[in-house]
């Protein structure tokens, strides 16, 4: 069996990230969670992830500020932005900053899972061997 996709959920809403982690774990993902950008950096320093699900509006290090730091800390991870605070400006800035995709909350778990798998597969396909 293939290794599970390692997902790191970065969101300041505790209940949201915990339930999402529970759901993704049930569906075969290996999940870790962080309550903000700083905590995510510490987690990634311990072990890499394949996909980072990143919120935008968070106290402390916001998603926008955290994006370049997370990409530097874990270049092999794809970043999927998932936020309720959507604006086209932020979306295009995040994509220009290297995020792989941008989803708007509330997002059905199935849709989010599909997006996680899609960015993961894309990365696997384009990764230098």
């Amino acid at each position: 069996m293939a290794d599970p996709i390692r997902v790191c959920i970065v969101d300041d809403e505790e209940r949201f990230r915990d339930t999402l982690a529970k759901l993704l774990s049930r569906h075969g993902f290996s999940v870790r969670t962080a309550g903000g950008g700083q905590e995510a950096l510490e987690l990634l320093a311990q072990a890499p992830s394949d996909v980072i699900v990143l919120d935008v509006k968070m106290p402390g290090l916001s998603g926008e500020q955290a994006l370049p730091l997370l990409r530097a800390a874990c270049p092999e991870a794809e970043v999927l932005v998932l936020t309720g605070h959507a604006s086209v400006d932020i979306a295009s800035a995040m994509i220009a900053g290297g995020a792989a995709d941008y989803l708007l909350k509330p997002c059905p778990t199935e849709e989010l899972e599909g997006a996680i798998r899609a960015v993961y597969d894309r990365r696997q396909a384009t990764r230098p061997r």
Partner: protein, 313 residues
């Protein structure tokens, strides 16, 4: 408001030409003055005739000026009302964006909890079949209502979007045709025909194509929902005075006169609860204004409605 200041002083706010003022402000007083001066040099019988002519000129001019002032005041009042309306729409836009953002987060939590609860109840043991069926039905209904809220908040965010349009040259007919093809299948299924009446040799328009597509699709779907089987939706394009217009005309139920003023207001809908968010036309109105154009509606109840998008060339 996108009314441009015209360099011609005689042009009205909508580009309509008004007759010049100088016959009343210069010519009429001049003629009247000349008639008064002439009375000093002419015999009394001619004086009376000249006085009558001078009087008639003055009265005629005064009446014309009074009528023009009244009309001007009426137009000014109408423009004030329209300005107020667009300011109101902008304020609602700001407010809705804030609300949509705040609601999306709790909705996201409800969505995850729902998905988890559904998974758990899918293999639940020990509950009666009826209870389990009720629980699943409740979860389904909650999911449906969350989805309804999701559509509202996402459209509200769209409504409040302040992005500058990205302009590109595109054949207008192509933009309209792309959207017509999207709804044509559904239209055929409902027994509604889509007719085309495109002006030949229309130049390319410089506009934000995805935004314009969104507007046309919205007008088309509205027309489709309003048109009974056997009806026709006609797509027209015209070019006039440096502008191009796209009209979507349907043979549906039309718009009641009392609703005409409200159709571009956010959340106004005549559809059943849950069937329409009441945001389509207000979003379209905002988009067309950002593209430098205008969106107008005309309707005769029972005889369909026409929505016309006018864009600068």
């Amino acid at each position: 408001m996108n009314a441009k200041n015209s360099t011609k002083p005689e042009a009205g706010p909508e580009g309509f030409a008004f007759p010049p003022l100088w016959p009343h402000t210069v010519l009429a007083p001049g003629l009247a003055g000349a008639a008064v001066l002439a009375t000093l040099l002419t015999p009394p019988a001619v004086d009376v005739a000249l006085a009558l002519v001078a009087g008639a000129i003055c009265i005629g001019s005064a009446l014309t000026l009074a009528r023009r002032i009244r009309r001007g005041e009426g137009e000014l009042r109408e423009m004030d009302l329209r300005l107020l309306h667009s300011q109101k729409l902008a304020a609602i836009g700001e407010l809705s964006s804030g609300i949509a953002h705040e609601i999306n987060n709790p909705l996201a939590i409800i969505t995850q909890e729902l998905d988890l609860a559904r998974e758990i109840t899918a293999d639940c043991q020990g509950l009666s079949d009826e209870d389990l069926s009720d629980a699943r039905d409740s979860l389904r209904e909650i999911a449906k209502q969350v989805d309804r809220c999701r559509q509202i908040t996402h459209k509200l965010l769209n409504f409040a979007r302040k992005m500058e349009p990205v302009l590109q040259e595109e054949a207008l007919e192509q933009v309209i045709e792309d959207m017509a093809l999207l709804v044509e299948k559904e239209a055929q299924g409902r027994g509604v025909a889509i007719a085309r009446d495109y002006a030949p040799d229309l130049p390319h328009v410089r506009t934000d194509v995805p935004l314009l597509r969104q507007v046309i699709l919205n007008l088309l779907t509205n027309a489709l929902h309003a048109t009974p089987p056997g009806g026709t939706i006609t797509l027209l394009t015209r070019r006039a005075d440096g502008q191009v217009s796209i009209a979507v005309r349907d043979t549906g139920c039309g718009i009641a006169p009392e609703n005409m003023e409200k159709i571009f207001d956010p959340f106004f809908t005549t559809k059943e609860p849950g069937k329409g968010t009441g945001l389509g036309l207000s979003v379209s109105h905002g988009i067309v204004a950002r593209l430098g154009g205008s969106l107008a509606a005309t309707s005769r109840p029972g005889q369909g409605a026409t929505f016309t998008v006018t864009l600068p060339l």
